[in-house]
Amino acid sequence: MQNIIKASLVLLSAAMLQSCTKVIDVKLRDADKKYVVEGILTDAPGNCRVLLSKTKNFSDNNEPLGVSGAVVSIKDKTNGTVIALTELTPGVYVDASFAGTPGHSYELSITAGGANFTAVSVMPQKIKFDSLYITKEQLFGDERTLANLEFIDPPAFGNSYRAVQYLNGRELTNIFVTNDDYTNDKKNYAKLFIFSDDDADKAKPGDTVTVDMQCIDPVIYRYWYSLDQSATGNNQSAAPANPVSNITGGAIGYFSAHTIETKTVVVE
């Protein structure tokens, strides 16, 4: 009996939970190219920009394929003002001074290559970003330094939030979105979990962590939520799909009018 148990132990430690990962070659069919819109308007000037590009084949390089020569404008539907954006670099359309007002509804219009795309987004009321601090957490046998946000959700339902984290000024690509479905009218503690194994994404003592807190339109919450669930290529979803978009006219992507507040903390 003793020997069996001993043998079992040896075999178990050798064999259990071994999983192996390798890069494989997958032949993917090319599809018709789609326009991709990434439109942003915030309550602070200098953030108004629209990126227009096209989808690429999987085997192509990752450089975005900017679309030049489009006519891009944003209309404040609440007061009727129309701002025409100018092309800064190929596919990047900006306005240096335009800032939105919470509560106003904005309409993005794009004309490119004979196609018209529009999208509407309402800039939500701004919720105060109360504090940003760092905690250390045990995640699967690894100590992680995580950023935490605190804010107080207002009494009415319907608030959505997004956080964008920067480590020493470099934007991390993790998608953090939450809404008040479960946390309405409460003090919210949002922990920005990072599961990445990449050491460059792990905060170390002395690093500067900056977080933008955005109050986003619920439609845009759906966009980020579904992008994260089903289009980043590394999820367990049985049905990967394009995220739920607010762009009409056949393009993919989003147009978000949101508020923004930034805080910075140094990791101790």
Binding site: A31, K34, T55, F58, E171, Y182, K187, G233, N234, Q236
Partner: protein, 770 residues
């Protein structure tokens, strides 16, 4: 109503027999343990029957001297002479064929498919039969073994779910002593909830479901627990790499009553605790389960049974995260023999499934709880009307309570305590079916099951537009009926015997399903959502047509089975693209889409049943598709479980008295899967563009498992043996997932990355019985 009229007309137009007949009836048991024998064949001349699920048989024979030949798999065939001057009770005991020590078993140990009888699309396995099949980590598992049979497909590594004839994993009705089991997996699917030590018999119907079963579209997996040895006390058990189990049974009063208790627990967590690393030794990962049964014979005519199952899984990461889930079932049964022709069973059944998630992160401290609970009353009569007709009829009433999600949180948490509305429903059905032996060669089973599913208040129900936005809300009071769906389910089957060794059978069945599992992950999770039909979620309906050819060869040493089927499915459910699966709303329908499905295929099996070398080869050629408005441009697309080819080879070789060798090899076409059609950049990140659902395939899956069993010591009553097995012997890296990401070596490119779970897993286990 028409089927009923037809039913009654045919039943009573059966020719009256001129000859004087009497009925012999009784129970078939095992001599050694007193266990009743399910499906034993009792023949006398050209008449014959099989014992029912409680071992009862009834056979009407001519007056005078008759010889009964009683046979069952693994038992010595017994001949009994009986002189019939009146209706006679005759209980029969069978002796274990392998009791003849020192003799290598050459008797049939594998259950044969019945050439006669109208039942088709059925697979039976006993614990003895799967004993030598090599398994993952030494854990014998009926649910894994059944996936080696034609038409039944494994959901993949690390998943105990299975697909039957193109259906989804929730379309299998899994019954343990008649109690529905809502989540039949342990450890996130690596093991099934069924401890094979406690199981007597497992029958899987993939087509031609008898009328007494209903509620799921694809299959019925009917598992019966052992009753417990009423002759002698016996203790058996096993110690494997990751789990240990113990089974104790014995008589309470010899010949009259017995008990059985069987328990199992994994101890992977014990190894975690040995780790000096505090982040690992605080993790929890284990399951346990307990089967218990009592039975009591009250005289010749009545028998009572009480059986229960309780299982629990625990998964946790320190204090911060905990997930536990488990099933509990209980069955109280009363068998009553009214007379030699009328058998009755009454069951009161309870079944429960729940999960609980505990989260503690800083000031956030809350629990999520969800539950599904059934109370179920079943009354069934079996009437052996005459030598040509046997009738089953009865009723079944289930009260379902669903608690979709409840959150309890501490006052410091940012999460609010809340509860989704509980959902109540009453599923009533009546059924009647007759098997009519029209001639020596031709038999017909015709019947119907009528289901009325009533959705009950209280609660809010909704109307929605095509985008899933609520347009109207209806409020119902407690006990008020929201809607009742009434569905007749015809069940027809016919067989024609060409001769003693060949037959052809055909069947048509309709099945209706009112409890639906929605999931959008590639593997089954304990937290997948069970939902009942509502005013918007219509009952799923499947019509299945099948035809089969059965042939026994070389004096029943070999058997060949060919079956083909076509299945049409209505009201299939899927999540919308981008659905919020954790939505905090009673209107779950807002996240769903509905459509239809079709599946067809050909199944073949060639089996060698007798000799030192036994086994089978099975092959399935199939197609299964869905068409759902809002997915893949509303066109037909391959369901995820669509696999063109599926092959299993299972073989056992008895080398000598001590050693038995075994091996199985499986090969199947990869699942249909969605891959990107392109990529683009948002948020400074490369993400993927999709055009069609399930337009690609995972790489083909294949695997060889090897096993060897060594009998250390065997006497008439005791046994000790060692089992060795190697899972995935040639180390094939079968894709578990394929992910797409920015290349690590060249960030300007994207790449596909495959993860495989198990590569070459050896194991050893020790089993004993005394």
């Amino acid at each position: 109503m028409r089927p009923f009229i037809l039913f009654i007309t045919i039943l009573f137009s059966a020719p009256l027999l001129a000859q004087e007949n009497f009925t012999v009836s009784g129970t078939v048991k095992l001599k050694s343990t007193g266990e009743t024998v399910i499906g034993a064949t009792i023949r006398s001349g050209k008449s014959g029957t099989v014992s029912n699920e409680y071992g009862f048989y009834s056979l009407t024979l001519p007056k005078g001297k008759n010889t009964l030949e009683v046979s069952s798999i693994g038992q010595e065939t017994k001949k009994v002479d009986v002189t019939l001057e009146k209706n006679t009770i005759l209980n029969i005991s069978l002796e274990d064929a392998s009791q003849n020590l020192g003799e290598v078993t050459i008797k049939s140990t594998a259950s044969g498919r019945s050439i006669s009888g109208t039942q088709m699309g059925v697979e039976r396995l006993s614990t003895a039969e799967i004993k030598n099949i090599p398994v993952l980590m030494g854990e014998r598992d009926l649910m894994k073994a059944v996936q080696l049979l034609p038409g039944i497909k494994s959901a993949g590594d690390g998943n105990s779910g299975f697909y039957v004839r193109g259906g989804a994993t929730d379309q299998n009705l899994i019954l343990l002593d008649e109690a529905p089991v809502y989540n039949a997996s342990h450890l996130l699917g690596f093991f099934s909830t069924f401890n094979s030590d406690a199981i007597k018999d497992m029958t899987l119907y993939k087509g031609g479901m008898p009328a007494q079963y209903g509620g799921r579209l694809s299959s019925v997996l009917d598992i019966k627990m052992n009753d417990g040895n009423n002759q002698d006390y016996s203790v058996s058990g096993g110690i494997g790499l990751i789990s240990a189990k113990l089974n104790v049974e014995g008589p309470i009063v010899k010949d009259k009553s017995s008990f059985l208790i069987s328990g199992r627990r994994t101890y992977a967590d014990v190894f975690l605790k040995l780790s000096p690393d505090s982040t690992i030794n605080q993790n929890r990962l284990y399951f346990y389960d307990l089967n218990a049964k009592l039975n009591y014979t009250l005289g010749q005519k009545d028998r009572l049974y009480l059986s229960g199952y309780f299982g629990q899984d625990q998964l946790g990461v320190g204090e911060s995260f905990g997930l536990s889930w488990g099933n509990a079932t209980g069955t109280a049964r009363w068998n009553h023999i009214f007379n030699s022709k009328m058998f009755s069973n009454t069951s009161l059944i309870f079944s429960n499934y729940n999960y609980k998630i505990k989260i503690r992160a800083g000031a956030n401290d809350f629990q999520i709880f969800s539950q599904i609970r059934d109370w179920n009353l079943k009354q069934e009569f079996q009437w052996y009307a005459n030598s040509r007709n046997s009738v089953r009829f009865g009723l079944n009433s289930i009260f379902h309570t669903l608690r979709p999600g409840e959150i309890t949180s501490s006052s410091t948490s940012s999460v609010n305590s809340s509860a989704l509305q509980q959902r109540y429903s009453l599923e009533n059905s009546i059924f009647g079916t007759n098997t009519w032996k029209a001639s020596e060669k031709f038999s017909l089973t015709y019947g119907v099951r009528l289901t009325a599913f009533s959705i009950l208040g209280k609660g809010d129900f909704f109307d929605m537009n095509s985008k899933g936005e609520i347009t109207d809300t209806f409020n119902y009071k407690s006990g008020e009926i929201v809607k009742t769906y009434v569905n007749p389910e015809p069940r027809l089957a016919a067989s024609y015997e060409f001769n003693e060794s060949a037959s052809v059978k055909a069947s048509y069945v309709r099945n209706v399903q009112n409890m639906h599992l929605i999931s959008n992950s590639t593997s089954n999770n304990p937290t997948d959502k069970w939902i009942a039909s509502t005013n918007l979620i219509k009952p799923e309906i499947a019509d299945q047509y099948s035809i089969g050819y059965y042939k026994n060869l070389a004096d029943n040493k070999y058997e060949l089975t060919l079956e083909t089927y076509y299945k049409d499915m209505q009201n299939q459910i899927d999540y919308r693209n981008g659905a919020d699966i954790f939505i905090n709303s009673d209107a779950i329908e807002s996240q769903l889409l509905f459509g239809k499905g079709r599946a067809y295929g050909l199944e073949m099996q060639f089996k060698k049943k007798v000799g030192k070398w036994t086994g089978w080869v099975s092959y399935t050629l199939s197609k299964t598709e869905r068409k759902i408005d809002g997915i893949s441009n509303n066109e037909w697309y391959n369901a995820r479980q669509d696999r063109t080819h599926d092959i299993s080879v299972v073989s056992t070789y008895q080398l000598n008295k001590k050693w038995t060798l075994s091996g199985n090899w499986v090969y199947y076409t990869g699942n249909a899967i969605t891959f990107p059609a392109g990529k683009y950049t948002v948020n400074n990140q490369v993400v993927f563009y999709y055009t069609e659902r399930n337009g690609y395939r995972m790489p083909a899956y294949h695997r060889l498992d090897l096993g060897a069993t060594c009998v250390l010591k065997q006497t008439k009553k005791t046994l000790s043996e060692l089992s060795f097995s190697v899972y995935n012997a040639y180390g094939r890296e079968n894709a578990y997932t394929i992910e797409f990401r920015q290349s690590k070596s060249d960030p300007t490119r994207t790449e596909a990355v495959q993860t495989a779970l198990f590569k070459f897993i050896p194991s050893v286990s020790y089993n004993f019985k005394f």
